[in-house]
């Protein structure tokens, strides 16, 4: 909690007249102008499981909130409800992987990264087991406050050897990553987008296909390069359209795999002399921004470098659009920041 938040604790509030951002918007991601796909993760997994009987699903009392319930309905005998026991979720997934299965373990990102970390580290990653940990509410996608805001999940897992980290942007990424996670011979931590998920990438680049380990240019531009991951690619693309109206030409390199990082593509694009901005739905500590900065410095590539991401702080509760504006990851805030740096 920030000092400002704490100081507000005993200030009475006025009841607003008229419409305002309410808690009904607590987890509603603003994605204007895009069509949506329903439960891309659950549907893709249910479909893939039809032809791959190694796949099993586990959830710690959050199947309905990670879209795993779609898989559970399609393959009830291959779904394990573990209950609200995240350590058991990870340990049992490890045990199933030992026996030759490919377990998809779902919960919220905060619980996988904070509560069950030792189990992910020691029972899964250290043994190189093909457990696919897929977690909803990544970064700032909930207005519930720090208990549900996984602002440091990527930083936590980046320090863990031998685990791949994926942060999808949209329904295409989420659906297409499922077979890629299965094909990946090892553990994966994947952030999930659930429910009605926007279809962003193919609107901007119709032939876009997700490839684990690959960063891809979605939009070319000569003035600035945004290297972005997860939902921030959507923000970057939207901001780029707004900035284009001001004559500012912004390129967007979508980097949905944080680890292993596609350093080759990043170096090639960042080496073109444009302002380079890394945008992530994550604390600016330990995520994609620092990974890119290390890559650039080590290779001797020195563009003007800026970060868009969440502050090193416990964030406030509230409606998601309000919070995205407040912390600089809304469409408007992204555009303003880039403009200010040019």
């Amino acid at each position: 909690m920030t000092a400002a938040t704490r100081a507000r604790k005993y200030e009475p509030r006025k009841v607003p007249d008229g419409r305002q951002a309410t808690s009904a918007m607590i987890a509603s991601l603003e994605a204007e102008g895009y069509g949506t796909v329903s439960a891309p993760f659950g549907n893709a997994l249910a479909k893939l499981a039809e032809t791959d009987d190694r796949i099993v699903g586990l959830s710690a009392d959050l199947s309905k909130y990670t879209d795993l319930h779609i898989f559970a309905q399609a393959h009830p005998d291959r779904f394990y409800q573990i209950g609200m026991a995240e350590q058991l979720l990870m340990g049992a997934a490890a045990g199933l992987a030992h026996e030759g299965f490919i377990p998809f373990a779902t919960t919220y990102a905060v619980f996988a990264s904070r509560r069950a970390y030792d189990f992910v580290s020691q029972t899964i990653a250290e043994e190189g087991l093909p457990v696919k940990i897929c977690c909803a509410l990544p970064g700032l996608t909930s207005g519930y406050g720090p208990s549900h805001q996984a602002t440091e999940d990527i930083a936590i897992f980046r320090g863990l050897p031998d685990i791949a980290i994926v942060d999808p942007c949209d329904a295409t990424d989420v659906a297409q990553m499922v077979p890629e996670l299965v094909a990946w011979n090892g553990p994966v931590y994947a952030r999930l987008l659930r429910g009605q998920v926007a279809n962003v990438l193919q609107k901007h680049k119709p032939d876009y296909q997700f490839k684990l380990g690959r960063a891809q240019m979605i939009r070319e531009g000569k003035d600035a390069l945004v290297i972005s991951t997860g939902i921030m690619t959507m923000r970057a693309l939207d901001a780029a359209e707004d900035l284009a109206r001001d004559g500012i030409d912004v390129a967007v390199l979508h980097c949905p795999t944080i680890k292993p990082l596609d350093t080759e593509t990043i170096l090639a694009e960042a080496g073109k002399g444009r302002l380079t901005v890394v945008a992530e739905n994550h604390t600016r500590l330990g995520g994609l921004g620092e990974a890119v900065a290390t890559t650039l410095l080590t290779a001797g590539v020195h563009p003007v470098f800026r970060q868009i991401g969440l502050p090193d702080a416990f964030l406030e509760a509230g409606a998601l659009p309000t919070l995205h504006d407040m912390y600089g990851i809304s469409r408007r805030a992204v555009a303003e920041q880039i403009k200010g740096w040019l």
Binding site: G83, M90, A94, F119
Partner: protein, 284 residues
Amino acid sequence: MAITDTAGNRSNVSLARRAYNIRRKAIQMGEVQGQGYVGQALGVADVLAVSFFHAVEFRAEEPEWEGRDRYLLSIGHYAIAFYAALMEAGILPEEELATYGMDDSRMPMSGMASYTPGMEMSGGSLGLGLSVAVGRALGLKRKGNPALVFNLMSDGELGEGSTWEAAMGAAHHKLDNLVCIVDFNNQQADGASTGMLSAEPIDAKFTAFGWFAQRVDGNDISALREAFDAARAHSGPEPRVIVCDTRMCKGVPFLESREITHFVRVEPDEWQKALAVLDEEAPE
């Protein structure tokens, strides 16, 4: 009467002799490094002897044989005892004994799956094993494989909340193919487990969690044999637990009588003395 027909059970070597051999190897490994969890190894030797040579099905020449019972060492600290059992079982060659804890050895001080044939998991961060055992038991059932999953853990691990998550899960999923063995030597890093965060009454707790619980003298080979047989023969859907009360340093009286600590201090000249004492009472 034994009801199991395992490879070890078909041998003519007595279980007491197996336990003696395991103790001997553990002391020899302790001497290699001048240290090790020898007190625990001596205490759990009878449990391991009955496990490997009476209760557990395995193929020495094929440690990953699909039909084997999975024997998880949750308590990685007990690796010295487990290696001794693996050598006695012929899964690890005895010639490697003198490499224990050395660089490049297949027998690191703490047990890890990627180093050692027959080591089913990387333990050591305590309280991991039972959760993994739950997953393996679910997996075996899913494959229609009748093998059992054994999880050897210590009383100290009962302090980890994850153990009880797994205990609930095992009962909920009716894992009658899971046998948990708790080595209760009442000794943790800072002192007696019962004086620190007591799990007593342990067997009653497991019963309340929906397990078929037994508690035996873990240094009494016939009692252990009966308990493992009963665990296998039990017809109910409950997971099984055998709480084994063991004595640290069992079999070497001058160490048994020493102030018992987590890490028993053995002077350089005492390793050979310990072997000599053990040899005096060597069973047939």
